[in-house]
C-alpha cells in the first residue's frame, strides 16, 4: 500500500533519508555541510526513536538511508541502527570520516549488513589534508580504514570536496581511489552554504582551475571505464543552470537532524520563517506530507519569474532555495547560480574576484562557536 498518494498525487514518495545521527566529529572541515549552530550530544535522539523513524521511512517508500553526521560512528548505537536498516530492507550507506572509532566498528557494521561506505578524504598529500580537516594524524587512519573496507568486500566510495586548497590534487584523488580499490569517486566542488559560505573567500577556486579539474575528470572517466566510476559535481557559481536541490524540494529526500528536526535539505534551516516539525511530535509521513517547511517550496506554485514560465522548472525546480536566500535575499527567487537569474553575472563576478585574492585563513567548524556570515548582504544590498 502507498501511504502517500491516494488523496495527494502531488506529493511523491520519498526515496532517500539523510540521517544526521550526530553533529559530533573529530574533523573540523571549513566547508562542513552542518549548520553553523551545531546540535549538542545531550539533545540527540535516542536509539529507539531513530529505529522508529527508520521504520516509518521504510513505510513511506524510502529505499536509501544515508547514515551521516558529523561522524556517525561517534554514536555508540551505530551498529544497532545499521542493523535496523538491514532488517527493514533499507539500503544503508555509511558516510564517514574514517577516523576516531570508525575502524573499530567496521567489522560489526559489516556483520549486521551495512551496504556501502562513503569515506571522505580532504587531500592527497597528508599535510595538506590534515590542514584542511583540522586534525593531525587523520590521513593514516583513513588509509587503514579504506583498506579494511575493501578487505571485507564492501563497496567503497571516496568523497573529495574540492576547493582552492586541494584543486591541484584532483589527479591525485583519482590515483588514490584506484590504489585504494574504491569503485566510485566523488569529485565534488564545494557548495557554498553553511560553513563553506563563511569560508567562501578561502575556498573559491578560479575558473581556469575549475575547467582544468573537469578536463582531468573527463579524461580519467574514459581511461578508467569499468574500473572506477567518477561522479563530478561542478561548482554552482560557474555553472549555467543550477542543480535540482536534493532532487527538488520535498520530492525525493529528507534530512533528520541529530535532535529530530526534519528538513527538506541539510541547509534548510538557514531560511528564516520556515517551520520545521520534529519526529518526536509527528510521524514522518505527516511531516513529509504536511509540515510547513516541506510544503513551502514543493512543486512550482511558489515560483516567481524567470522560473515560473521556464521550460526547466520541473528539471531543476528553481535550484537551491538556501542559495537563493543567501545570494538574492529571497528564498523564493531563482537561484542566482542559474544563468537566467538577473543576479547571475554579479555572483559570477564575485566568485572571480574572491578567487583572485589571497585566501584568508579557514574558519574551522566547532560546536558552540558564534560565527556570523561575513557576507550578509554582499550581492543584494
Amino acid at each position: 500500500m502507498n501511504a502517500l498518494t491516494p488523496n495527494r498525487p502531488d506529493v511523491p514518495a520519498p526515496v532517500g533519508l539523510l540521517a544526521e545521527l550526530t553533529h559530533r566529529c573529530p574533523l573540523r572541515c571549513p566547508y562542513c555541510s552542518n549548520p553553523l549552530e551545531l546540535d549538542r550530544r545531550s539533545g540527540e535522539l535516542d536509539t529507539a526513536t531513530w529505529q522508529r523513524v527508520l521504520t516509518e521511512a521504510s513505510g513511506l517508500g524510502v529505499l536509501h538511508v544515508h547514515l551521516s553526521g558529523g561522524e556517525p560512528t561517534a554514536r555508540n548505537d551505530i551498529v544497532e541502527i545499521t542493523k535496523t536498516c538491514a532488517d527493514l530492507g533499507l539500503y544503508s550507506n555509511l558516510i564517514t570520516s574514517g577516523v576516531g572509532g570508525a575502524l573499530g566498528k567496521l567489522q560489526a557494521l559489516y556483520d549486521v549488513g551495512l551496504d556501502h561506505v562513503q569515506l571522505s578524504v580532504q587531500g592527497v598529500d597528508a599535510q595538506n589534508a590534515e590542514k584542511i580537516g583540522g586534525l593531525k594524524n587523520a590521513q593514516p587512519q583513513k588509509f587503514a580504514f579504506a583498506a579494511k573496507v575493501v578487505e571485507l568486500g564492501l563497496p567503497l566510495t571516496l568523497n573529495s570536496v574540492i576547493h582552492r586548497g586541494n584543486i591541484h590534487e584532483v589527479e591525485g584523488f583519482i590515483d588514490l581511489a584506484v590504489k585504494m580499490g574504491a569503485k566510485r569517486l566523488e569529485v565534488a566542488h564545494t557548495q557554498y552554504y553553511g560553513w563553506a559560505y563563511v569560508n567562501r573567500a578561502a575556498l573559491m577556486p578560479d575558473k581556469a582551475q575549475v575547467d582544468a579539474s573537469i578536463r582531468i575528470v573527463e579524461a580519467a572517466r574514459e581511461r578508467l571505464k569499468g574500473q572506477l566510476v567518477i561522479d563530478l559535481v561542478v561548482p554552482d557559481y560557474y555553472a549555467k543552470y543550477p542543480k535540482a536541490c536534493a532532487g527538488g524540494w520535498g520530492r525525493k529526500l529528507m534530512n533528520v537532524t541529530p535532535q529530530g528536526k526534519v528538513l527538506p535539505c541539510h541547509a534548510a534551516e538557514t531560511i528564516p520563517g520556515l517551520e520545521f516539525w520534529h519526529v518526536t511530535d509527528h510521524s514522518l509521513g505527516e511531516i513529509w506530507r504536511d509540515s510547513p517547511a516541506f510544503t513551502a517550496y514543493r512543486g512550482t506554485d511558489w515560483m516567481k519569474e524567470p522560473c515560473r514560465s521556464c521550460d526547466r522548472r520541473e528539471k531543476d525546480w528553481g535550484g537551491c532555495r538556501c542559495q537563493a536566500l543567501a545570494l538574492a535575499g529571497d528564498a523564493a527567487a531563482t537561484d542566482p547560480a542559474c544563468s537566467l537569474s538577473p543576479l547571475h553575472a554579479k555572483v559570477r563576478a564575485l566568485a572571480v574576484e574572491e578567487a583572485a585574492e589571497t585566501p584568508p585563513d579557514y574558519v574551522y567548524r566547532t560546536i558552540g562557536s558564534n560565527v556570523r556570515s561575513p557576507f550578509k548582504e554582499d550581492v543584494n544590498s
Binding site: 501511504a3 529505499l63 536509501h64 566510485r184 571505464k225 574500473q227 572506477l228 521550460d311
Partner: protein, 365 residues
C-alpha cells in the same frame, strides 16, 4: 556472394478477401503480409544481421536510414493533422514525442544520430542529408504523401510494420553486436527504446484498424496500405544493395566511403581494464548491490551505492536469475523457454545489459 534469395510472395489476391473478414482473420491477414514482405527478409538485412557487411556498408545503411528516422515525425504530424478526435490525437502525438524528445539531445532521432556518429559520421554531415540516396528520399517522401492523401484508416494501417519490428530489432542488435567490433551498445541505444515503444504503438494501430475496417473494401485498403509500407522499407534496402553491395553503382552525389566522417583517433585504446562479458561468464551482484521489490511503487529496483536503477521487465527477469552460478548462456536458455524466444537473440540482449551494469561497477563475474 551468390546466395539465391527467393522473391517475396505477392499479397494474397484481392479476390480471396471479397468477403468480410472477422477482426482476428484481418489481423492474421495483416501479419501474413509482414511474414512475406517485411524487410527483415531483404538480402541486405540478412547481410547486416549476419555480420557480412563491411564497415562502409554499415555506414551507408546508418546514413540513409537517418533520413527515414528524421521524416517519421513529419509523417506522424501529417497523420495527426487528419485526426478530428482528441482522444486519438493524444495517443498518436506520443510518437512524435518519442522521436523528437522533450528537449535537445533527447528522442529517437537523436539516438539515431548517435548511431551514425558511433559508426564514424560527422554529425553535421548526417544532418545535412547531402549524401542520402535519391531512392531513399523518394520512398520516404512517398510515405509522407501517402498518409497525407489517403484515408485515415489507410494512414494508420500503413504504420503496422511496427508489429514486426521487435523481431527485426532483436535480430539486428544481436547480430550487430556479435559481428561488428565497431558497434557498441551505446551506439545501438535507439533500438533499446523501440523494443518497448513499437509494440505499444502497434497495439493501438492494430486495434484501430480492426475496429474501423468494417467492410471488405476497407479491409482491402488496409492490407494494401500495409503492403505499400512494406515496399517503402524494401525499396530503401534495394537502393542500398544496388549502390553499396552489388553491382556497387553509387549514384552521383550520394555518399562515397571515406567522406563525411570524423577523423579516427589513431589506435584509440579500447576502454581499459574490463573485458566484455561473454556467454560463459557467471555474473553476480556484489555486496552492496541488491535487487529489491519496492512495495510503495509496485516495481523492482536495483539498489546500488548512492543510486537506484529503474528496471524494465526484461532486466528484472534477467537479474532474478543472476546468482553467480548460472552462466549468461544458461540465463538466456531459461528465459528462452519461458518466453518462447530464440535464446541466442536473448543472450545478445542480456550481454548488452550486463555489460552496462558492469561498467557502472554494480555487477561482477
Amino acid at each position: 556472394m551468390n546466395a539465391v534469395f527467393p522473391p517475396p510472395a505477392p499479397t494474397p489476391d484481392a479476390a480471396e478477401s471479397q468477403r468480410l473478414l472477422s477482426p482476428d482473420e484481418l489481423e492474421a491477414a495483416l501479419r501474413d503480409i509482414g511474414a512475406r514482405r517485411y524487410h527483415i527478409l531483404h538480402p541486405f538485412h540478412r547481410l547486416l544481421h549476419d555480420g557480412k557487411l563491411s564497415k562502409d556498408q554499415v555506414r551507408a545503411w546508418a546514413l540513409n536510414r537517418y533520413y527515414y528516422q528524421a521524416m517519421i515525425p513529419v509523417k506522424d504530424a501529417a497523420v495527426l493533422a487528419r485526426m478530428t478526435d482528441a482522444s486519438l490525437r493524444r495517443v498518436w502525438r506520443q510518437r512524435i514525442v518519442d522521436h523528437d524528445g522533450d528537449h535537445p539531445g533527447d528522442g529517437g532521432i537523436e539516438r539515431w544520430l548517435k548511431l551514425a556518429e558511433g559508426v564514424g559520421f560527422d554529425r553535421d554531415y548526417v544532418l545535412s542529408t547531402r549524401g542520402i540516396l535519391s531512392a531513399t528520399k523518394f520512398s520516404v517522401e512517398a510515405y509522407v504523401h501517402f498518409v497525407a492523401e489517403k484515408s485515415l484508416l489507410e494512414a494508420i494501417a500503413s504504420s503496422l510494420t511496427e508489429m514486426f519490428s521487435p523481431t527485426i530489432i532483436s535480430e539486428r542488435v544481436a547480430g550487430m553486436l556479435k559481428n561488428y567490433d565497431f558497434i557498441t551498445k551505446d551506439t545501438l541505444a535507439y533500438f533499446d527504446k523501440r523494443l518497448t515503444q513499437a509494440p505499444r504503438d502497434a497495439d493501438f494501430a492494430l486495434d484501430y484498424v480492426k475496429t474501423h475496417a468494417t467492410t471488405p473494401e476497407l479491409q482491402r485498403l488496409a492490407m494494401a496500405a500495409l503492403t505499400f509500407k512494406c515496399n517503402v522499407l524494401w525499396t530503401q534496402l534495394d537502393a542500398l544493395y544496388f549502390a553499396y553491395v552489388a553491382p556497387g553503382m553509387i549514384p552521383p552525389d550520394a555518399w562515397t566511403p571515406g567522406t563525411g566522417l570524423i577523423a579516427e583517433a589513431p589506435g584509440a585504446p579500447a576502454a581499459a581494464g574490463i573485458r566484455k562479458m561473454v556467454a560463459d561468464d557467471k555474473p553476480r551482484l556484489p555486496r552492496g548491490v541488491r535487487l529489491r521489490h519496492d512495495e510503495t511503487r509496485g516495481k523492482y529496483v536495483l539498489l546500488a551505492p548512492e543510486r537506484t536503477f529503474d528496471l524494465d521487465d526484461n532486466a528484472v527477469a534477467v537479474l532474478k536469475l543472476v546468482d553467480g552460478n548460472r552462466s549468461v548462456a544458461a540465463i538466456a536458455d531459461e528465459l528462452g523457454r519461458t518466453y518462447a524466444a530464440d535464446p541466442r537473440a536473448i543472450e545478445a540482449d542480456i550481454l548488452v545489459m550486463l555489460d552496462g551494469l558492469a561498467e557502472k561497477r554494480v555487477l561482477e563475474r
